[in-house]
Amino acid sequence: MSAVYDLIRYAQLRHRAFTEVVDRLDDGKFHFSAKDNLCADGFQARAGSAVLDGYRPPFDATPIQKMKEVGGQLVGKTTMDEFGFGTFSTNSAHGVPLNPFDLERSCGGSSGGAGAAACLIPGHIALGVSTGGSISGPASFCGVVGLTPTYGRVSRHGLIDYGNSLDKVGLLARSASLIAKHFRTIAGPDPKDPTSCAQPALPEKGKMPRSLAVPKEALQNLDPAVRSSFHDALARFKDIGVEVREVSMPSLRFALPAYYILATSEASTNLARYCGMRFGRREEELNQHFNDFFTGVRSESFGDEAKRRILLGTFCRMVGFRSRYYLKSLAVRQLLIEDYRTIFRDHDAVVTPTMPFVAPRFEDISRMKPLEMYGADVLTVPPNLTGMPHVSLPCAYVQGLPVGMQLVADHWKELDLLEAALAWEKAFEYRFPEVSP
């Protein structure tokens, strides 16, 4: 077997990056993986949930199909939080992925397996999905590059929904050049996803951002090591001729609640279909009233966090609460888009750390309350809520653990971000853990 295949198996067995992998690699093809919420013919698609055990979609998600068309082999499905519900990939029914830099720490989430695979396998391209930060987070904790395109840039046909107005398919890999190449492959309109049909064509080339904005509100409550690493990174940007200015964006504090309300409201409707009929886990004992039947399957199959988000989302759209929570959050999203636009009039991108801390230990995670966990998304949520493209890049190492920074650009300007990422890579050397399968 090839060295690459050994690495894939290693990533699966030792780091639980994959839920399923192929038996062998095809000659002449490049290898890529897909998060387990992307449907692929020949694989189960369980999205980290027991309720989808046995679901074998008879079709390929469009991004997977496009990767195959240019010579890619789908080598495996990567582990994730159930339906994307998590920041640490600890809410998975099919194994919790372990960080490539430290087995006792989280890969981030919800595309944790994708982060680990991208880090452990050189030349590997991992398709991830972000709703509120699920590409940036794992990229940051696993020390890889993660691109989350503009909402609607990549078709969601074949993606198992979390929040349809927030979900974005993106890429994780060791380098921006690898991502730049495959971003072109998966982008573009697809009649099977109407929201992908509103995009402008990709330009030939991006424009190197010359001016970065740092919202001061984003620098509160950071781990001190992350804060100082981030300031070093800003200094390095200045060295390569990029202007950095502090700005104020007071509306940022509304992003987290608006995001969680919209995401869970949509999720609670998306998850209504999982009821023991038709697909995934099918209940055979039919001699029950349908309400009991549905309730039984759902209560047994959904994990703790899935239930919490279903409850939260159901509440936020109920009569009497809907306008205070759901409708208000829609309006707040528009407000944030306008505020980003104001900043983009004078600056090419917004930059912040990606996560407020480095990859945490599992034992620390187990002591976190749900609200604290949601708070960890505070920096990744704003661009996700507003559909702005963003990229997370490794920018420092603290006690051997990677620190990520996140650049956000205006809608459709992914290529500008990739220019910045390519320039960054010339100025800063990435490190990857030594692996000997």
Binding site: S265, T269, M277
Partner: protein, 444 residues
């Protein structure tokens, strides 16, 4: 008495509302795909034709049409609903605040919107513990929902309303012919203060029966000094009674949210640019006011044939309207199927004109028209007995028509249609109508 209706009609598309599955009838679960089964990873895309048909209806009903609309998810759990939410329109229907003229009375239309149909359930197993056998062929079939104000005043009027609405919509956008039987209606009815909702009645006949039952029930309650309880009732088709629908175990909270997979639709221009055909009853009203002909005659004309009505209007340019009427409802109507194919309009018009100007006799004119149709006058003259026999044979063979006729004289239309078809144009529609009415009255 106040009655308001919520009607669901299937729109005439070839593919479903949100996926490309065919809408034709098929074996169970043959017209299905991941989208209409709600498979994880599938997503909807809107059928242009369905949107256009819905907008035609909204415009025809003179609704206010917003510039921008979107779809919503109505979440509830039921085995026939694949996603356990239905994609419908909530805050932003296609049209609001329209009206329909029913025999000169204005019936308010509250809203017109699009939604997807769920699947169909067959109950299988021992009585009381039947399980569901679900066929998802209908899942995603495009429906238009039309909601009226409580402006209807009797069960008969409610039925007439749908009857006439269907005639108009059929011509407007090609609604299926069997819609009188398949239309699904929720009706609100109040005799006194409190209203009762009768849910999910299928077909016009059932609707009228359900409403009549409900009207009597409420009247009796009130007469006895009792109160009508505000509730939802269902109609039992076999026993022909309404009964209180046991409140669902869980009172659903639909928790409407916007459907983010479809985006939004700027329908203003689309609606304005639609070319709306003149519908039959609207045309009849115009004929009455433009040419001063009788209402019944105008209706008979437009419902017989669009092209015959065209000829009528053409004739009115050459001869007085009463002449045009007597010819188009008389000898021409009786042979229209053939004339339409064979004769040049100019020839027909010339004959009628010559007759009107006294250049030829009525009989000669009639002979010429018939010869245009290739009918020998002798044969036509012999037809008398034949017509009566055709009618009585049919009524003998279809006793239910007579039963219907007792309740609603419109049932005679079935007989008229049959005889017109069978006699292949040997008799004018006027002759047939008169003869059928005579026969039916004789028997009733």
């Amino acid at each position: 008495m106040k009655i308001g209706l919520e009607m669901h009609f299937q729109l005439p598309t070839r593919s479903k509302l949100f996926c490309s599955c065919p809408t034709t009838s098929a074996e169970p679960n043959h017209n299905i795909c991941p989208v209409c089964l709600g498979y994880p990873g599938s997503r909807p895309s809107l059928n242009r034709k369905a949107l256009e048909a819905g907008l035609s209806i909204a415009r025809f009903l003179d609704c206010t049409i917003e510039e921008r609309v979107w779809f919503s998810r109505k979440t509830y759990f039921y085995p026939d609903l694949p996603k356990n939410f239905q994609i419908t329109q909530y805050e932003s229907p296609l049209g609001t605040n329209g009206h329909f003229d029913l025999n000169g009375r204005r019936i308010g239309i509250w809203r017109v919107h699009l939604e997807e149909d769920p699947g169909r359930i067959k109950r299988v197993g021992r009585s009381g513990e039947e399980i569901a056998f679900v066929d998802y062929n209908r899942s995603g079939i495009p429906l238009v929902e039309i909601v009226t104000a409580p402006d209807l005043t009797s069960p008969e009027e409610a039925r007439a309303f749908i009857d006439q609405l269907v005639i108009e919509l059929r011509s407007l956008c090609g609604l299926e012919a069997q819609d009188e039987q398949t239309v699904r209606v929720d009706a609100n009815i109040s005799v006194g203060e409190e209203r009762v909702e009768v849910k999910n009645v299928q077909g016009l006949r059932n609707l009228e029966k359900a409403l009549k039952f409900e009207a009597i029930r409420q009247t009796k309650l009130l007469a006895a000094g009792k109160k009508v309880i505000r509730e939802t009732r269902r109609f039992d088709e076999e026993r022909k009674v309404t009964s209180s629908a046991r409140e669902k175990e869980t009172e659903e909270d639909y928790g409407y949210i916007g459907e983010p997979d479809l985006g939004e639709f700027r329908i203003g221009d689309m609606a304005r640019n639609l070319d709306l055909k003149e519908t039959p009853l609207a045309r009849a009203r115009r004929l009455v006011s433009s040419f001063g002909i009788g209402e019944a005659t105008a209706k008979q004309l437009v419902l017989t044939s669009v092209t015959l009505t065209d000829l009528f209007e053409e004739l009115c340019g050459h001869v007085p309207p009463e002449k045009a009427v007597s010819w188009t409802t008389g000898p021409i109507s009786g042979n229209w199927a053939v004339l339409q194919d064979r004769a040049r309009w100019s020839d027909i018009i010339q004959i009628v004109k010559d007759d009107a100007e006294g250049q030829i006799t009525d009989n000669e004119a009639k002979r010429r028209i018939l010869s245009l149709a290739g009918v020998q006058q002798e044969a036509a003259a012999e037809g008398g007995d034949d017509l009566a026999k055709l009618i009585s044979d049919y009524v003998d063979a279809h006793p239910e028509v007579l039963a219907d006729y007792r309740k609603n004289p419109k049932a005679a239309n079935t007989v008229i249609g049959h005889v017109m078809k069978e006699s292949k144009g040997r008799y004018s529609s006027k002759e047939v109508v008169e003869e059928v009415k005579k026969e039916m009255e004789k028997r009733v």
